[in-house]
């Protein structure tokens, strides 16, 4: 499962097409508290959050996440996109809630490896 496939399968809007869209997604993490994400997410995770502030890019970059999906149609701030371009982090937007999106991502990751 990579970013390109997940975009197609879940109808995501790609807002920052930087980074490696073919990079394998090995897992996922859902959370809005940055210290929690720092402690508990893993390399290769797709991060699901409602935070749109540019600090999410530093977290994703430091943790080597495959990308970030914003929920509930939350749009990334302009600074966030600039920083994402420099840190090579793909950012996507979904109109689903964190609960629904996490369920779908979980299913996709369980199905195709």
């Amino acid at each position: 499962m990579n970013i390109e496939t997940i975009i197609k399968e879940l109808n995501l809007k790609l807002r920052s097409a930087t980074g490696d869209l073919k990079k394998n997604i090995s897992g996922g993490y859902t959370g809005d508290l940055l210290s929690d994400v720092m402690a508990n997410s893993h390399e290769g995770d797709i991060w699901i959050t409602r935070q749109v502030h540019q600090n999410i890019v530093a977290v994703a970059s430091l943790k080597d996440h495959a990308g970030i999906i914003l929920i509930n149609s939350c749009e990334p701030a302009k600074d966030t996109l600039e920083r994402a371009a420099q840190e090579n982090i793909p950012i996507m937007v979904s109109d689903l809630s964190a609960f629904e999106l996490s369920g779908k991502v979980y299913d996709l990751l369980a199905k195709k490896d």
């Binding site: 809005d32 508290l33 940055l34 210290s35 929690d36 720092m38 402690a39 390399e43 959050t49 935070q51 502030h53 540019q54 600090n55 999410i56 890019v57 530093a58 977290v59 970059s61 430091l62 943790k63 600074d79 600039e82 920083r83 420099q86 840190e87």
Partner: protein, 155 residues
């Protein structure tokens, strides 16, 4: 446009000479928050250090950087890499931490609304620092600032 450039230059990490580098951190400025830890991670990666060691250093430097930005006036993060360890010191000028035992408790936070809205303020940062460093020291002088020293073994 925000300039979000890496502060790094290519590094040559020989085992004989300890590598040292200091980074300035401005209190209250969330625009650049994370740039120091991102740079530290890049430097350590360039040195070819093991991935888990780089990961630990990234977490402890990030949390100490964000705490300086969130609570202090200004600070410095010092990186030292020698043949055995990675040392990260975070020294700030600010209010200091009146009760370190309390601050170390998971969930304790004095973060204001503005900081919480950005996703900080879970009260987990100092716990993360403790959990991801092999040796951790924290001290503070009220009204002066805080001093943190994290050591990570290179294995």
């Amino acid at each position: 446009m925000v300039v979000w450039k890496k502060l790094i230059t290519p590094v040559d990490a020989t085992d004989k000479t300890p590598y040292q580098r200091s980074f300035y951190v401005e209190g209250g400025n969330f625009t650049y928050a994370g740039i120091v830890s991102t740079s530290i991670k890049s430097i350590l990666k360039q040195m070819g250090l093991p991935a888990d060691v780089v990961r630990k250093a990234a977490i402890v430097s990030y949390e100490s950087e964000i705490n300086i930005v969130s609570y202090a006036k200004k600070g410095v993060i010092k990186l030292t890499v020698d043949s055995q360890t990675i040392q990260i010191e975070a020294i700030d000028e600010g209010p200091g931490i009146p009760n370190i035992d309390l601050a170390m408790q998971e969930g304790y936070s004095t973060a204001d609304q503005k900081i919480r809205e950005m996703g900080f303020g879970a009260g987990m940062g100092l716990c993360n620092i403790k959990n991801y460093s092999d040796t951790f020291n924290i001290s503070s002088e009220i009204g002066k600032g805080a001093f943190l020293k994290m050591i990570i073994d290179r294995h």
